[in-house]
């Protein structure tokens, strides 16, 4: 087990190193830089050159990269060119907001989507199944931002409630915090509930045709218990991988939904920094997203082993 974790960690570090090169190059492939933005129409070649030297943008790209990498390895993500604040602090506070939202979506949609999938898989072909299937198709095809806007529009027009726009951290007030996160969470959950239900349904249908389910039914076991004891147990491993994939997908959706609901998360930080060509912040934020994706994959792999005893050797 220990050796396995070490091996996986080493592989993750290599992935991370390669990804950091891609990130660094991509950011710089975007036309324009912060100096152009600052000078605008006033652009004079002399002033620009001074500023470029100040930000280190005049160096060759590999020197810039090695310089950045060296500092990152020492735990220093640099200073925001636009805000002057340390990137580590900016990214950390934004990441916590996004992480909380993503976890809420992951858990909330699992609590609704998995039982829903078990039910429609059990009664597949029936009217309920058909209804849910249609819902799934619609939910999977609807853009997240549209659902977000419709929800926002719906609650304010129909219920006359305008959701608070100033973010409150869960440490200050958990109720206010959850009130603010409710609509963004629901907007993202639609898609994920459908994804969970679809996934579980297919596995249930496959399991229902198995002889071990038939044998359990023949022993007089009620269907509900067969589903929970035999079918669900066999779904857990694929479901945990699926949750890992979903989580990474949710992180992507979070970025979109944050702009609509004005949440100070990683998405908003990233969009603003990219618009300003604030390279240290963009790099720091993307690196954080990468690391969390890698960590999620690692957790899923470890969960596998915990759930499926056959993998423990």
């Amino acid at each position: 087990m220990g050796a396995f974790v070490l091996r996986r960690l080493a592989a993750s570090l290599i992935t991370l190193f390669l990804a950091s090169i891609v990130v660094f190059a991509m950011v710089r492939a975007v036309p324009g830089d912060i100096v152009e933005q600052m000078m605008g129409q006033l652009g004079g070649s002399e002033g620009e050159a001074v500023l470029r030297r100040f930000f280190g943008l005049d160096e060759p790209i590999h020197i810039q990269y090695l310089d950045w990498l060296g500092r990152v390895l020492r735990g220093d993500l640099g200073v925001s060119w636009r805000l002057g604040a340390p990137v580590t602090a900016l990214v950390a506070s934004a990441f916590l907001v996004s992480l909380q939202l993503a976890l809420l979506v992951l858990v909330f949609s699992a609590f609704i989507g998995v039982p829903l999938g078990l039910m429609v898989g059990r009664w597949s072909g029936g009217a309920f199944d058909t209804a849910i299937q249609s819902f799934n198709v619609v939910a999977l095809a609807t853009p997240v931002f549209w659902i977000g806007l419709m929800l926002l529009f719906g609650v304010s027009e129909l219920l006359g409630w305008s959701p608070p726009t100033i973010y409150v951290s869960p440490v200050r007030s958990i109720t206010e915090n959850l009130t603010i996160l409710m609509l963004p969470m629901l907007s993202l959950a639609f898609l994920q509930i459908a994804a969970y239900a679809q996934f579980v349904r297919q596995h249930v249908i496959a399991a229902m045709g198995q002889d071990y389910v038939r044998a359990a039914r023949a022993r007089g076991m009620p269907m509900r218990r067969v589903l929970l004891r035999h079918v669900l147990r066999n779904i857990l491993v694929p479901l945990s991988t699926f949750m890992g994939l979903i989580f990474i997908q949710i992180l992507g959706g979070v970025v979109v939904i944050e702009s609509i609901f004005g949440l100070p998360g990683l998405g908003r930080l990233l969009v603003n920094a990219l618009n300003a060509r604030d390279f240290p912040v963009v790099q720091g934020a993307l690196l954080t997203v990468l690391i969390s994706a890698i960590v999620v994959n690692l957790i899923v792999d470890l969960l596998y082993r915990a759930i499926d005893p056959r993998l423990r050797t």
Binding site: R219, P222, N234
Partner: protein
């Protein structure tokens, strides 16, 4: 022994509607089992034979209501069970247990062998929680496995061991009938004999009734006191297995027996070869369903009703020709 059979299958039919194509054409109806009747008495082994696709498995599942018949009635212990709801059927379920063909599919891969066996006992209140470990160990011993197997997962077991577990699991709920559906055909030949012996010993010891489904006539002959021959969903012959083997009364039975591999050294003789393939069960032939392939068919066979007629001595055949003298096995 009571006069009443433990299981009575009376004129049971099952058809499956094939799903239509996307253009909305109906896919037709497959007649898997047509008008099948047989009895099973306490302590008796009935062998059900027939080629692949003849409806053996379907009939086995209908007999213990793992499938709902399209028409006909199944009675267990004198009580009709076809119309019972799932809830009413539940207490009866444990008395009728299946053993499936493929022990790789019939055991839940995520469950320890011990908990599979314990599950049914708990469900039907056959053992209290503290008794369970001993009961599970006894169950495993009964099928010739060490009690330590209880802690293992199916993955760690061979095919033969898995089938022993499947048998232990079926017996754990103290059934009165076992429907064994080709229980050895997925196993290595060397293991088959062990499992057959095990089934035979268990059946004799506990006076179980067993419906033994197989395409292997030799295996059926070893185990079953009576046999029933199925062709294209129709029972074509029933009777005590020694008698059926000694003097088949239906041409299809004769062809089946003739196809059995004989011992080396026995005199070679001309084989009866059935021409063509079994007909399409969506559109079965008129009259006797066997007539297109039957070497003895006469014109009447095209219209003759497919019905088992008693021939005395507990035997019955669906063949209308009483004048035939058919070859025996061996």
């Amino acid at each position: 022994m009571t006069a009443q059979p433990l299981l009575k299958v009376d004129a049971v039919s099952k058809s499956f509607a094939r799903s239509g194509t996307w253009l909305g054409r109906s896919g037709g109806v497959v007649h898997a089992v047509s008008d099948a009747s047989f009895d099973l008495r306490e302590g008796e082994v009935l062998g059900l034979v027939g080629e692949s696709g003849s409806g053996k498995s379907t009939l086995g599942r209908l007999a213990i209501r793992l499938l709902q018949p399209s028409s006909g009635e199944v009675s267990f212990d004198g009580r009709p069970i076809t119309a019972l709801t799932a809830g009413q059927l539940r207490p009866l379920r444990r008395q009728m247990q299946p053993v499936f063909q493929d022990p790789y599919a019939s055991l839940n891969p995520k469950m320890r062998v011990g908990s599979m066996i314990a599950e049914g006992m708990r469900l039907h209140g056959l053992a209290t929680r503290p008794e369970l470990p001993d009961r599970v160990a006894a169950s495993l011993k009964r099928v010739g496995l060490d009690p330590s197997f209880g802690r293992r997962y199916p993955k760690a077991l061979s095919g033969g061991q898995r089938q022993r577990v499947a048998i232990a699991r079926a017996l754990s709920v103290e059934p009165r009938i076992i429907v064994a559906d080709e229980p050895v055909s997925a196993l290595d030949v060397s293991i088959q004999a062990e499992i057959i012996d095990l089934l035979k010993t268990l059946q004799e010891k506990t006076d179980l009734a067993m419906l033994f489904i197989s395409h292997d006539l030799r295996v059926v002959h070893q185990l079953a006191g009576r046999i029933a021959v199925l062709y294209l969903g129709h029972l074509v012959e029933t009777g005590a297995s020694d008698e059926v083997f000694g003097a088949p009364a239906h041409p299809y039975t004769e062809a089946l027996l003739d196809a059995m591999p004989s011992h080396p050294g026995t005199k070679k003789r001309r084989r009866i070869v059935l021409h063509g393939e079994p007909p399409n069960p969506i559109a079965p032939p008129s009259g006797c369903v066997f007539h297109p392939r039957c070497p003895y068919a006469i014109t009447d066979c095209r219209h003759a009703p497919m019905k088992l007629r008693p021939k005395g001595n507990g035997r019955a055949t669906a063949c209308i020709r009483d004048d035939l003298v058919l070859r025996s096995a061996g």
